[in-house]
């Protein structure tokens, strides 16, 4: 039997009949179990390890002595030479120092204080298309909510959500296909950032950018440089938007054709919906993560060498039956659910509570206001370090906006 690991390319997994790479992940998982290959070797991208078993992935997450976050994106993102991905691509002690500065605003209690603004922006966005009877939910809701929420947290204009998404796209995807345009977008972001920073220094608020500007290193007493603040800005934009967006769009795609699951979701509130978000994070895990091996180490029966890369394949580890019973089924009330959808260990997602909370609020509002919907056409899966549905066109019986005026003429004309 030829090994699926040998030709495995985590950036372009084959898409199956259902429109997702899940069948391929399941096949890799099955090969792992049959051959005892918890860590395989791929010959793509110059060669790299693929960690697929739950236990080895967990062990690597926790072993920061041998595994560095310098390899968190592999191949690397196109950020300029002065820029490291703040937090995500850092190791101790820098990582700990910076993470401590921004940990506070992302605690579970703080996140719950976003309840009102989150609900309001979600309902406003739904108002804008509910009378139309059809929508690309990604453009109008699942991309828009995280972009606006991230803007609120950074204290920048939520109405510029499209701009932020464009910059993120340039950094994570466009540089591979069109580096010139990508560089132009990143230049635009730099200019926007410089202007924002200059203004914010004079008008400090309670947003995270103001918090970072005012942060003082407890050891040296120094504040952060402009470059450090920009690195925070970039990583919070990247981290705040894309993962949440892909989680939500893939979830609504599923609910668009899985009517039974939609009915069950409609019966859930509060903590039960948060549990469901964890299950979607496990089942449709948006992100894989890379590590650079900094010292020779034996793990999972293989000998790894300094300078090699390993991909922590969260999507496969999250379907390891040795950790999850019925891993190929969505069990909305799965508990415990110790998945890797938000990472694990010291680098676990800073916005872990926010992602789930955004999911809860958006799912609740959408399923209540538009309880019946179906897919208008097949959706488009997008690969990448963060993967999921890039568009989800839905058709539904037109409803009324919250101001009560329905516009039947509009939907008839459409």
């Amino acid at each position: 039997m030829t090994s699926l690991f040998t030709q495995f390319d985590h950036t372009t997994p084959p898409i199956g009949a259902d429109g997702t790479p899940l069948a391929f992940y399941e096949a890799l998982r099955d090969e792992m179990l049959q051959t005892g290959t918890d860590i395989g070797w791929s010959e793509q991208h110059g060669g790299f390890w693929v960690a697929a078993g739950y236990d080895v992935v967990r062990d690597i997450f926790h072993d920061t002595e041998h595994f560095s976050n310098k390899g968190v994106t592999f191949p690397a993102y196109a950020v300029d030479d002065d820029t490291t991905l703040m937090l995500a691509a850092q190791d101790a002690p820098e990582h700990k120092k910076y993470r401590r500065m921004v940990q506070g605003p992302f605690s579970p209690q703080k996140v719950q204080s976003f309840n009102e603004p989150l609900k309001a922006m979600t309902n406003q966005l739904i108002d804008e298309f509910i009378e139309d009877g059809e929508v690309d939910l990604v453009a109008r809701l699942t991309d828009a909510v995280p972009a606006r929420m991230t803007a609120v947290i950074l204290g920048i204009d939520p109405e510029d959500g499209d701009l932020y998404r464009k910059w993120c796209w340039a950094i994570t995807h466009l540089f591979l296909t069109d580096p010139e345009t990508a560089a132009a977008h990143v230049g635009e972001m730099d200019a926007y950032f410089r202007e924002t920073l200059a203004h914010r220094r004079k008008n400090l608020g309670d947003d995270v950018l103001s918090l970072v500007i005012q942060s003082v290193d407890p050891d040296t007493g120094e504040t952060l440089s402009d470059q450090e603040i920009k690195d925070f800005f970039v990583v919070l934009l990247l981290g705040g938007i894309e993962n949440t967006s892909k989680l939500l769009s893939t979830m609504f795609w599923r609910l668009g054709w899985d009517v039974e699951m939609r009915r069950r979701m409609q019966g859930l509130t509060g903590e039960k919906l948060l549990l469901a978000m964890d299950e979607f994070l496990r089942y449709y895990t948006p992100a894989w993560l890379g590590r650079l091996i900094t010292a020779d180490v034996e793990i999972g029966g293989v000998q790894m060498h300094r300078g090699q890369f390993v991909i922590l394949h969260n999507q496969i580890a999250n379907r390891d039956p040795r950790q999850f019973t019925h891993p190929d089924a969505i069990v909305l009330d799965r508990e415990p659910n110790r998945h890797f959808g938000l990472g694990m260990g010291v680098h676990r997602c800073l916005g872990a509570h926010l992602v789930r909370y955004e999911g809860q609020i958006v799912a609740e509002a959408m399923l209540k206001r538009i309880p019946e919907f179906e897919l208008a056409r097949p959706a488009t899966w997008i690969n990448g370090q963060v993967s999921g549905m890039a568009d989800v066109h839905l058709r539904f019986p037109p409803g009324a906006g919250r101001n009560g005026t329905s516009k039947p003429a509009l939907s008839e004309a459409a």
Partner: protein
């Protein structure tokens, strides 16, 4: 009486314990780590003991243990 001990070396602030038992846990701002803030649990209090066991199970880092209050 029992309390839930949080191993701060292991805790990474996933918040799963807080999700299960919001009255029993709180998070400190600086590191975002969990701490047990609930009243000591009577081992005969089946409901609270069950909740505590769920919180322990839910922790992805295996940072929680149920211990005697005196410890």
């Amino acid at each position: 009486m029992k309390v839930i001990h949080v191993d701060l070396e292991r805790c990474q602030g996933h918040g799963k314990c807080y999700m299960v038992a919001p009255d029993d846990f709180d998070f400190e701002d600086e590191h975002g780590r969990s701490r047990f803030v609930g009243a000591p649990i009577d081992p005969g209090d089946e409901k609270r003991m069950k909740l505590a066991a769920r919180a322990v199970q839910a922790c992805p880092e295996s940072a929680l243990t149920i211990v005697d209050e005196s410890r």
